[in-house]
Amino acid sequence: MTVTEPRPTNDAPRPRFVRADGPDKVTGTGRYTADLTLTGVLAAKFRYADHTHARITRLDVSAARSMPGVLAVLTADDVPDVRYGPFVQDRTLFARDVVRFEGEIVAAVAATTAEIAQRAVDAIVVEYEPLPVVTDLEAALAADSPLVHEGWESYGSADPIVRDRNDASFSSITKGDPDAAMAAADLVVTSRYVADASHAAPIEPRAVLAQWEGDKVTIWTSTQVPYDARAGVCETLELPANRVRIIVPHLGGGFGGKCGFHYEAHVAALARAARRPVRLVFSRREEFLAPDRRREGMVIDITTGLRRDGTIVARTGWIAIDNGAYTADSGFFPQLAAMHVAGPYRIPNVRVEAHLVYTNHQPSGSVRAPTAPQACWALESHTDELARAVGMDPVAIRKLNAVDTGAEGPSGQTYDEIGLQQCIDAATAAAGYGGELPDDEAIGVAIGWWPSFSAPSGAYVRIDGDGSGQIITGAQECGTGAVMTLRQLAADELGMQPEDFQLIYQDTSVAPYDMGATGSQTLFNNGRAVVAAAGQVAEQLKQLAAEQLEASPADIVLADGQAHVAGTPSRSVPITELAGIAAGGELLIGHGSGQPPGAPPLVGSSCVGDVGMAAFIAPQFSCHAVRVKLDRDTGVARVLEVSTAHDSGTILNPVGAHGQVEGGVLMGIGQALTEGTRYDDDGRQRNAAMLEYKLQTCADAPTIRTTFIEIPTPDAGPRGAKGLAEAPNVATAAAISNAIAAIVGRPVRQLPMTAERVWETIADAAEAAAQDGVAS
């Protein structure tokens, strides 16, 4: 498919977009899950593991069960014995025999008040035999390491997943002959970078409310992926899909943290056992400790061979990714991380290997652009090391090696129209790169990429007898505005206004499937579905109008609320009038899905553990240029300005798109400087609170300038749109790293680059300089 519609430029006037759910949100009338209640509702509380790795030798809930006000206490014995997981079926709803991280659920209680539920949780007796704790990624891969899952070989797993002991998923990308090319290179540079784990940290802690009516359960939940949540409930409680209804009220942010299947089944099981509605509301501490959605820590080794002119001839990489205790949706992380360590560069010889390593940490899962900010930070910091090694400008070495239209990338994909080179030019120009700066300031530059995710998706569009429209979609709104933008697409297809449509969404029993607010895929896939559904209604309207206007349906144009004959606007009939006619006959109902774009071919490469992540569909590109001021005495880095350029295809909702970039950049600044989870020797989080795990505040926020490079994109979403929500989170930390390294003279090799770590790097650089002075 080639997109042929004219594309607006950045300067073209566009209507101001006000989101349809906005009035609910600014007046406080919008309901989030924790705002809901039902008559007779009980409060749920979990008993978490007392150890990070231990065998349960005794579990006695009798005292808790007999407490007044307690209506249900559940353990593994009270639910079907089902191991689940999208890639590796390695976990159960409740711990069976062994606990493997501090947030593992041993038992659940439903009681008349939260206080009673907590007292009952505390009254549950659990005795343990401690097991060796696994926290070090490299040690965990050694042949003599204790196993996190002794029974790993008995687990089921998805076909492409390659596993071995504590390695839950291995993947590699190989192209050309990297060993020979490395040996022949003029220069070889090797780097190691280590990224700490971090958190999505949406401001809304998750909540679940479940109610059974007969053999059907309705679950209101703060999930980004209602159909995944439904699938999880069906799998673990052994229910057919049509008896589980997931409804998502307004969702208070997710950033991947609310992807996957979490506690919907626990709460549904409690509600069934108690014969009452049950509600779970997480505390902030639980939000940090329990979900299988931590951003993964990583160890990254990169070696690059270059010619003296800066041309990259070979790259090898080795990556260890902290999977934590269970495999959530992390099975695809190794291949995606390998792509980000290979990077958006023209490299003829590549070998990158990546391991997903079990530890006794909280499980990792998709957080906004999973693996990318850390891997990009490592790769792009390394790229500046390459520039220093060959004496080139960091931007020049990127321009020389970065992929472009028609070029072949590291996995053997040849790109159609892409705008990475334009992104580099636009971001560096906006930043004033190359200009004079005080000696405590520098501009760091980094490039990033991210795929668009192609997936099945569905929607219905209908127009009722009064001419008002409804879009009934499986898509999930997590705040990005992507679902809100669907009104514009339907309106354009039907010659109506966005305000003519109400959105019905986030209800699995009402709308057809969509993957959810994940993978930046909502507009890419559900936009296609809405356009297809609206297109069916448009055909119906044209047929009706043709009969009214005595013309051919092919000659009917829908515009400005009218159906008119092409070239003769005066021969027209209002769409509301056609809707009235249809209400007495064949109703105006469209359904749409459309064929998802297929994966582009890879030539000359081979992948082990191939989960489809080496071929980027409608790839997005970005360049971030960040001006940083560094206090050398304290190591405190302050981000002054961020200039970004993004190729995310056509921008359908500019206000929303700028908001995505600005939010992604600020999250990236947090990852760069302050957001890192600290663990004790037993694998427990030491900073599971917002004062100790510091998000960026309004006072920290820099000026952010954004340019969108809108170029024709083959095989993209509606009107040439690609994804967007994750891409802005990729390159910011890397650009900050390069600014700090430019000031200090060497990179900080651990993420986040806290003041202490920056200060240590400054001290190390000074010591090295002093030794050089002595040596000379």
Partner: protein, 161 residues
């Protein structure tokens, strides 16, 4: 079970008096959300860290998660539900929408209350004033730029410019 420690209180919220009977240890946030029944004020951390629970007490911004309901007796409590007057959005509400300062919306009620307090004491704020004034309210979605723009525009609107 221990004997009831409930106290009869009257809370004045958005100009309406609400008699409630609550344990003396209950925080204002939970009483607003449960007994008073106004859920616009959100709980993000229960520890004064995120600002989602911000309300005004006699015009002063307070994290209601860490403030006893009993301490609010006799004072005028304003929540986000009290910002709409005569069916019209307050300019800060309208401008947050038009500038794109709302995404998931969970921080929005607290942000509105902090901005209202800021503009009451600083009618012509600099951008730095706005950044400091909203620094007790975490937003994970927007990167704050469009929220700052909305507050700047609201200041001008309220000054009649």
């Amino acid at each position: 079970m221990s004997q009831s420690l409930d106290r009869d209180l009257v809370l004045t919220v958005n100009g309406i008096a609400y008699p409630v009977s609550v344990d003396h240890g209950r925080n204002l946030l939970s009483v607003l959300r449960t007994e008073v029944g106004l859920t616009g004020t959100k709980e993000g951390c229960d520890d004064c860290e995120c600002g989602a629970c911000m309300v005004l007490l006699d015009g002063q911004p307070v994290n209601s998660c860490s403030y006893l309901a009993a301490q609010a007796v006799g004072r005028e409590i304003t929540t986000v539900e009290g910002m709409v007057r005569d069916g019209e959005l307050h300019p800060i509400q309208r401008n947050l929408l038009e500038e794109g300062g709302v995404q998931c919306g969970f921080c929005t009620p607290g942000m509105i209350m902090s901005a209202t307090a800021l503009l009451a004491r600083t009618p012509d704020p600099t951008d730095e004033d706005i950044r400091i004034g909203l620094s007790g309210n975490l937003c994970r979605c927007t990167g704050y730029a469009k929220i700052i723009a909305a507050v700047r525009r609201t200041a001008a609107d309220l000054r009649g410019e």
